[in-house]
């Protein structure tokens, strides 16, 4: 058995999303740098593995998989002792509900904001403040929904942490640090949940 290879970039948020879950599940891995500045992710050889030309993807002893959340789910399924996806019918349904909320209600607005405040400056591109403002305003409304849910339970799927909570980690702190927004701490239940996530050893361990 060869060590799991994660093809990505240590500074990229999607790579970090996978790395955090690998740490949670205590799975050793090798991070292989994909040089996007020199379009290493657009070569024919790369596109054979990840046809959308994005990072990351994994090679787990010959099994190739892309889409960060699919990779994280695969890790959680392969190493069920990490208990990041519940198996009980109703708890699993509420986990899926939470994972869908993360993607469609949080990341839908957080991802474009992160692109504006972090990715564009790194590439010497001009930030569009109007895009940031519009996305943060929309996200603020969605976080009212989060605040209501997190008033009744500790984490987004229930009282135990799941992948759905961890999925927020790469983008949420960037809103605080790079977008200089207090959006994650404005509402009391969201703030409590967010600060708890930031103390996860798997988040702190990854220095990339």
């Amino acid at each position: 058995m060869t060590i799991l290879k994660l093809y990505g970039d240590p500074i990229a948020t999607c790579t970090r999303r996978v790395a955090t879950v690998l740490y949670e599940a205590k799975v050793p891995f090798e991070l292989i740098f994909v040089d996007r500045v020199n379009n290493a992710h657009k070569t024919p050889e790369y596109l054979e593995k990840q046809p959308f030309g994005q990072i990351p993807y994994i090679d787990d002893d010959g099994f190739i998989l892309f889409e960060t959340r699919a990779i994280c789910r695969y890790i959680a399924a392969k190493y069920p002792e990490c208990k990041l996806i519940p198996t009980d019918l109703k708890k699993n349904a509420l986990f899926e509900q939470a994972a869908s909320i993360e993607l469609n209600d949080f990341d839908f607005f957080a991802a474009p904001t992160v692109y504006e405040v972090r990715s564009k400056p790194r590439r010497g591109l001009q930030t569009d403040q109007a895009v940031i403002d519009a996305n943060l305003a929309a996200l603020d409304k969605k976080l009212d929904g989060y605040n209501a849910m997190l008033g009744k339970q500790k984490y987004l799927a229930g009282d135990e942490i799941t992948l759905a909570d961890l999925f927020h980690l790469p983008h949420a702190p960037i809103l605080e640090v790079h977008a200089k927004s207090d959006i994650m701490v404005r509402k009391p239940n969201v703030a409590r949940w967010y600060k708890d996530l930031l103390t996860r050893p798997s988040w702190l361990a990854y220095e990339g």
Binding site: P51, F52, F63, L65, F66, E67, T68, R69, A70, R73, Y74, A77, K78, T87, L89, K90, N92, A93, L94, E96, Q97, A99, S100, I101, L103, N104, D105, F108, K142, D144, G145, A148, M149
Partner: protein, 212 residues
């Protein structure tokens, strides 16, 4: 007690849930939540769905929302023997399914939905199209469907050899863009066309395509 869907019959996400009910022969009661009347933002509905969107479901007291998770729940609870979601014990088939589901939600849903808004909804409401935005969305969606064309040349369905929810989740927007907006995104790509023809002709979709 019948499975209850709190939804708006023409809504994409409401039809997505109704489709899976039909696939699994799960009878349902549709309790109307009128979007034009703003009923999805009323306090009683927000207790059911705190983000104020449709649908939400009530299965004999178990309540949840988000159309794709509801679909997964339906298969888990009522789909004994169904292959719409792979057996979780098959970790590889499950991973490929999750990859395909993620592709639909991450790559397809957003540009498809916004394109439908620009080309069909806005004209219906007498609002002007944003031509520049339409051009960008078409370019994005075309580039994504080029990848689909390549993938579907090698395998019959997006998750592999078996039809799954990952394929069916595409139906509401693909139907809207192909049959209402009259785009040739599908028809111009032989493998995508073959795949769309097959999934859209399923009786379950035919039953709900114009309203849950």
């Amino acid at each position: 007690m019948p499975f209850k869907i709190y939804g708006f019959p023409p809504s994409t996400c409401t039809r997505r849930v109704a489709l899976v009910c039909k696939e699994l022969n799960v009878p349902y009661e549709l309790i109307p939540v009128s979007i034009p009347k703003g009923e999805h933002k009323a306090p009683e509905y927000l207790k059911r769905q705190p983000f104020g969107v449709v649908p939400a479901i009530d299965d004999d007291g178990f309540t949840m929302f988000e159309s794709r998770p509801v679909a997964r729940y339906l298969v888990a609870k009522y789909g004994k023997g169904s292959t719409l979601v792979p057996d979780p014990k098959d970790i590889i088939a499950t991973a490929k399914f999750e990859q395909a589901v993620s592709v639909e939600n991450n790559h397809f849903d957003e540009p498809a939905g916004e394109l439908f808004l620009q080309l069909v909804i806005k004209p219906m409401r007498g609002l002007p199209k944003d031509e520049e935005r339409v051009k960008t969305l078409l370019a994005t969606l075309n580039s994504k469907l080029d990848v689909y064309e390549m993938v579907l040349a090698k395998q019959p369905y997006l998750g592999g050899d078996i039809l799954t929810l990952a394929d069916l989740f595409h139906l509401p927007w693909l139907y809207g863009l192909t049959e209402k907006a009259k785009l040739d995104l599908v028809t111009s790509r032989p493998n995508v066309a073959r795949w769309y023809q097959e999934i859209s002709s399923r009786p379950a979709w035919q039953a709900v395509k114009d309203g849950a």
